[in-house]
Assembly symmetry: C2
Homo-oligomer: 371 residues x 2
């Protein structure tokens, strides 16, 4: 069942944070939510890391807001795979986000105006360091597990490398150890759509009272192509035409067009373009093997966590082959790793879906964790 | 060898053309080029149909323009697969194009201003009808072959259906009998990039002295993702970083970004956005089986041509499976069809490449044609 009514918290961190780029954030806030109860030993905490467009509101609803169900409510709650009857689950909005944590729309204390373009480019490593501050704040020395899908899975992996002693298990779902050239290409086009939108104003659009909605809309439409599988798109939309089609125009003729426009419009209405730029760049830069001459096994060797790697057969953004790269590196090192591949039909988005096999694997894995 | 110096011709057609949409073009021009010599029996003519960004300049160079080699020069010329020592080869710029044939930038005789948005949406069927007028003009009753790759292959197929008695052979390369939902999705995002560019002005940008360069640039960048295979992109660019990378910015960090920006800029400088919209829409609408309840075999039954269908294993825009749909339908009907699949590594763009196996197949097929 769903965890029910929840509310967000805010933590302020007044110590400067030195980012991977060398930039320094003098102070920052993280908004977060928690579900379940931290046990006396503080050994039952699970961190959920979000993907490109996610945030801290993972599960439950806000009071009086019927349509506010968390983005991963189907996996977090009493009796659910991340069982809040047993675990204390934490969701957090990442640095640079647009859901309450310090980000490009926040006020830059040095200017008194929104950071905008001056908000630094953040990396997966930076997020993990910031999340570690939150762990300190919550009194959590070591996570029972860090869990994430897609870009969230990269954070779960990075946690095991940045803080090997603070992660007992790492659940890396629908992820990859680095982006391919094609993955970067998609991100680049999304960014160019935003950067060349005349209302982007070099990233300082807040001051102009406008937003680069056209660019953000295109970026999201493009993202959706990579979230769905070709087969699923064919099944869901095929070449079905809209009522009144046959106009021989550039209006909506096919249902897939209507779907993409709707998704693009909806997203552009609620998301921040500067955050989108930074989330995609964090994806591009993620490459733990880079400092090891591309040797992933060497890069993963410092990890002390047990790993559960999950991939989806229909995911062409991060195909199972990309997950197996991590599995092979861990096996090579003799590290503890379990791997599962689901046939869920929903492409990359499968990690968000209510797939029985996938959920059973997560449930079984987490049940075996001793607290 | 290359055919050498060539020049374009222009044919004017003063009879109105009723388009599939019901719109009527009162008159139109087609620019074309010919290579080789039409024999006395007029039995050796081959029509080359172009794809999305192609045109009539298929082979050879223009006098004094060293960098003006035709887009398919490697397949058309003396001793080449479309051997101009034997065949009379015709290239034509399609209606709605931006290389000299009547299109959105042409003057609308009713207003004295460029057609712009008022230029009708044209279809593959319309192009074939217009090309048939050119065949009449050149005195060609029946083509020895109609040949095309990608959208050009769709025209080669449509010729065999619209004018069964006028096509002896149809060479359908790197094509599909209709777009998938994912194919349409890519087209739709490209169109949305153009349509929402503030300098599009509803398609009447010529009058404003501007061009929707940003949108067209994005459209082309997106196209390039689908022209290359994931593997080839990995091999060609991988995650190689540019000299001076590590800026933690949205400037070019990875070579794939530089490549896409270059391709986008170059294309936006020479192509017309209104044409791009129409070419992609022609792709979307192409679906000969639509009037046959999706039964492709029934749709292809009227053809009298012999078919050569060629696909490329690395092409994920129109995969070999899409070519085999046509092969199976033709085999089902007992029609003459040969099929070849090349391992050329260049993805969808393979049809433009100098692939020995692919060229040998075309050479062998055309050599067997009796004139």
């Amino acid at each position: 069942m769903s965890i029910g009514i929840v509310s967000a918290e805010r933590a302020h961190f007044s110590q400067p944070l030195i980012l991977r780029s060398g930039a320094v954030l003098p102070a920052f806030d993280l908004v977060y939510e928690t579900y379940g109860t931290l046990n006396a030993a503080k050994s039952n905490a699970i961190l959920v890391c979000h993907a490109l467009s996610g945030h801290h509101h993972v599960a439950g609803r806000y009071a009086g807001q019927a349509d506010s169900l968390g983005w991963w409510d189907n996996i977090v709650g009493p009796g659910r795979p991340l069982d809040t009857g047993r675990f204390f689950v934490v969701g957090v909005n990442n640095l640079g986000g647009c859901h309450g944590s310090t980000g490009p729309a926040s006020i830059n204390p040095q200017t008194g105006k929104p950071w905008g373009a001056d908000f630094p480019v953040v990396t997966v490593e930076d997020w993990v360091v910031a999340q570690a501050r939150l762990a300190d704040y919550l009194g959590i020395d070591a996570w029972a597990a860090v869990v994430g899908g897609s870009l969230g899975g990269m954070q779960a992996l990075q946690w095991s490398l940045s803080f090997p002693e603070r992660v007992r298990h790492s659940l890396v779902i629908a992820a990859a150890p680095k982006l391919s050239a094609e993955n970067i290409a998609f991100n680049e086009i999304a960014r160019q759509a935003i950067l060349t939108d005349p209302e982007f104003h070099g990233g300082h659009y807040y001051e102009h009272g406008v937003r680069p909605l056209r660019g953000l809309r295109l970026a999201r439409m493009l993202g959706h192509i990579t979230y769905l599988s070709d087969d699923q798109m064919a099944e869901k939309f095929g070449r079905r035409q809209r009522v009144g089609a046959g106009s021989y125009s550039f209006d909506v003729e096919f249902e897939i067009e209507s779907y993409l426009r709707y998704q693009g419009d909806k997203f552009a209405g609620i998301f921040d373009a500067n955050t989108y730029l930074r989330m995609t760049r964090a994806l591009d830069y993620f490459d733990p093997a880079l400092e090891y001459d591309g040797n992933l096994a060497a890069a993963l060797a410092p990890a002390r966590a047990g790993f559960l790697i999950i991939a989806f057969a229909t995911d062409w953004r991060f195909s199972p082959a990309r997950s197996r790269e991590m599995v092979h590196a861990l096996v090579h090192n003799g590290q503890a790793v379990a791997y599962a591949e689901s046939n869920c039909a929903h492409g990359h988005d499968s990690f968000l879906m209510d797939d029985a096999y996938y959920h059973a694997v997560v449930t079984a894995y987490l049940r075996r964790i001793k607290l």
